[in-house]
């Protein structure tokens, strides 16, 4: 029994060190048939479109077979961690901003800079490419871009005869005031605002509008306590004033799927979302939804809004076919054919050439999302979530819950948040 245990531990050690068997990503393509494994998360619509992209690629490169492995979000990360641990990771990996550093800094991903022979990035803006750089190396290529926005239900507002202020100049106080009016007119069933405080997007925006940032360049927690306390004070005020629903309802909606949110069920007039979620929300709600610019932007010294990659393409550092994997990523990122099939399913394409080409083919809400991205003023993107901080959203969520249920004051939450997040980073 002991011998088996030692053997398994030895295997763990070995598999973690094992390098790729197929040489570098810069080499020529193999003449023999090659099979690539490609994994992504998503729902059925994405699975279908991605399979079509795979088919198109295989038609062009008959010697390369791509096997798609699709998972749901939670299952995806369990499965990816397990396969990486066993040195059995898929070759092409869809990556998220929260986990990028965790995988890249530990050597699980290929430096795409070594793959330029097959993978071209000339079409991309430097700022977009930088979102995939970790410790000076391009470990990931952004797929789509998204930016934080307010989604307003204009049908609901018209029905309640409430006028929206100019979203070019409004402040967070204006936002709350409109919300109050809606809640009063809505008679209990409808509330003005669907509370935020459950994602990293809202916290980033809040910090940046106050001239701070959640992390500094070195990857330490850098947001001052009083800025955080202000964030939670604002959220608590929304709930206490009835601008947002009661704490338990807010949390229930935040914890559910997109379709169960206040925006999707027409129970809230205003909500914070990524602009690319507009089409899904509009389908679920069945009413007219509109993207508005973030409150507080005109009062801030520089734009707090930023482009967040909806997801990335990355390649396993232990891939046996890095050259072919790079070729496939090139197809995903640069080819018009792939762009035409995927449209905005993975966000508005980060590749401006592809984005321009598909815009005329989009439906009304998709087009609105893409146009929003082109018109909004953005600042430089915040630093990639540091290694160890992948649970930041869970930590934000828990502290918001503590504040909404009066178990912690905003000040206590701010203090505890910083300590906990920093400890996670230090422990990684």
């Amino acid at each position: 029994m002991r011998r088996i245990a030692l053997a398994v531990v030895a295997a763990l050690t070995l598999s973690a060190c094992g390098g790729g068997g197929g040489g570098g990503a810069g080499q020529e393509l193999s003449k023999d048939p090659v099979t690539l494994r490609f994994t992504w998360w998503g729902a059925d619509e994405r699975h279908k479109r991605t399979q079509q992209v795979i088919d198109a690629f295989q038609k062009k490169h008959p010697t390369i077979t791509v096997k798609g492995e699709f998972k749901d979000w939670n299952g995806y990360w369990e499965s990816l961690a397990t396969t990486v641990a066993a040195n059995d990771a898929p070759d092409v990996i869809q990556m998220d901003e929260l986990y990028l550093s965790s995988y890249a800094e530990r050597g699980a991903l290929l430096d795409l800079g070594t793959a330029t022979q097959h993978l071209k990035t000339a079409d991309f803006d430097r700022t977009a490419l930088d979102t995939g750089v970790v410790k000076g190396k391009q470990y990931a290529l952004p797929v789509g871009l998204a930016t934080y926005a307010i989604v307003a239900n204009t049908d609901l507002l018209d029905q309640l005869k409430i006028k929206l202020p100019d979203d070019g100049t409004w402040s967070w106080d204006d936002f709350k005031r409109v919300g109050d009016e809606v809640s009063k007119a809505g008679g209990g069933k409808i509330t003005g605002v669907q509370s935020f405080g459950f994602d990293a997007g809202s916290l980033n925006v809040w910090a940046r509008q106050h001239g701070a940032s959640v992390f500094d360049d070195a990857g330490k927690v850098a947001v001052p306590e009083d800025v955080l306390a202000g964030y939670w004070t604002y959220l608590r005020d929304l709930a206490q004033a009835g601008t947002a629903p009661a704490a338990s309802v807010t949390i229930e909606r935040a914890g559910g799927a997109l379709d169960q949110s206040g925006t999707a069920t027409n129970a809230s007039a205003l909500g914070t979302w990524w602009n690319t979620q507009l089409p899904s929300l509009a389908t679920a709600s069945g009413q007219k939804l509109k993207l508005l610019r973030l409150p507080g932007e005109s009062q801030a010294s520089s734009p707090a809004a930023y482009f967040k990659p909806s997801m990335y393409w990355s390649i396993s550092s232990r891939s046996e076919h890095p050259a072919e994997a790079a070729l496939f990523v090139d197809f995903l990122a640069n080819s018009q054919e792939a762009g035409d099939i995927m449209l905005t399913d993975r966000g508005v394409p980060a590749n401006p050439t592809v984005r321009a080409a598909i815009t005329p083919k989009l439906g009304e809400n998709d087009k609105a999302a893409a146009e929003y991205l082109d018109t909004v003023k953005v600042g430089t993107a915040p630093r990639v979530t540091p290694n160890g901080a992948s649970s930041i959203e869970a930590i934000i969520k828990r502290h918001t819950e503590e504040v909404l249920f009066d178990r912690q004051t905003p000040q206590q939450a701010a203090k505890s948040f910083i300590t906990e997040l920093q400890a996670e980073i230090d422990g990684a």
């Binding site: 798609g68 397990t82 040195n87």
Partner: protein, 276 residues
């Protein structure tokens, strides 16, 4: 008269209880018959139209028709049932009826193996099976069942065998039967309820088990029902709830039928076969 009244009251109470318990299930069935985007906007059980679109959509929404995943699950379930029936009953006979060195210790070890959460076992186990080149086959899910790793069923059968009168097998021993014959001819027929329980539970648990199937089956060709069902769900974009509920209902049917059939065998125990 009072007897009749008591019976009626009993039935009324049971039906009420059943309705409360079944409310979520009914809600799911109703939702599967609603247009997808209305599911969360209309609470309650009232249907104003009958939409079967979700069933058609859900059936073809993934890489293969949903029937493919049902078939995969069925194969897996069948293999697991056979494995558990054979291996667990043998181990249980040894623990319940034989005296051997270190019996108590071995029994404790057996129970101990189910006390560790699977989440820390799965990574070393994955490495083990990937060394054997078993990933993306049913082997990592099936072979352990043939090796009596489901201690739950071993323990269950031990308890049942210990509940059987000893006189039966002692009489057989006096007649010169060996353990193999006692096991096959006397114990097995008498523990039919335990075997039926094992079949039902193995069926349901394998049918619903997500974690192992997710990790070990990588190619969508090999996906089973629980893995396929989760492919409908994505928290960040719109989920095809209608399709998901429709396929949940479809995948619930075989399990429900398995139970309906299986529970008959729960009734035929020693009470009808052994009681003279």
């Amino acid at each position: 008269m009072t007897d009749l009244l008591r019976k009626a009251a009993k039935h009324a109470a049971l039906i009420l209880l059943a309705l409360i318990m079944l409310y979520p299930v009914l809600w799911m069935v109703v939702s599967s018959l609603r247009p997808g985007n209305e599911i969360f906007r209309r609470p309650g059980l009232v249907l104003d139209s009958l939409q079967t679109q979700n069933y058609a959509d859900g059936w073809t929404a993934l890489a293969a028709p949903f029937g493919h995943y049902l078939a995969n699950s069925a194969i897996l379930v069948l293999a697991c049932i056979i494995g558990n029936l054979v291996s667990c009953s043998m181990a249980a006979y040894a623990f319940a009826r034989l005296e051997f060195t270190g019996k108590k210790l071995w029994f404790a070890i057996m129970l101990g193996t189910i006390m560790l959460p699977i989440h820390v076992i799965i990574v070393p186990q994955y490495i083990l099976f990937s060394q054997l080149d078993w990933i993306n086959t049913f082997l990592p899910l099936v072979v352990p069942k043939f090796l009596a790793t489901d201690a739950f069923f071993v323990f269950l059968m031990v308890q049942f065998i210990r509940g059987l009168p000893r006189e039966l097998d002692e009489a057989a021993r006096i007649d010169g039967c060996g353990h193999a014959r006692i096991f096959v001819q006397i114990i097995l027929p008498l523990m039919l309820p335990a075997l039926a329980t094992t079949v039902i539970f193995t069926f349901i648990w394998t049918w619903n088990d997500f974690f192992g199937q997710l990790i070990y089956l990588t190619d969508p060709e090999m996906y089973t029902v629980p893995v396929a069902l989760r492919s409908f769900v994505d928290a960040t974009v719109s989920t095809s709830w209608g399709s998901m509920f429709a396929m949940s209902v479809v995948s619930l049917l075989p399990v429900f039928l398995a139970f309906l059939v299986g529970q008959r065998y729960l009734i035929r125990g020693i009470a009808t076969t052994g009681g003279k």
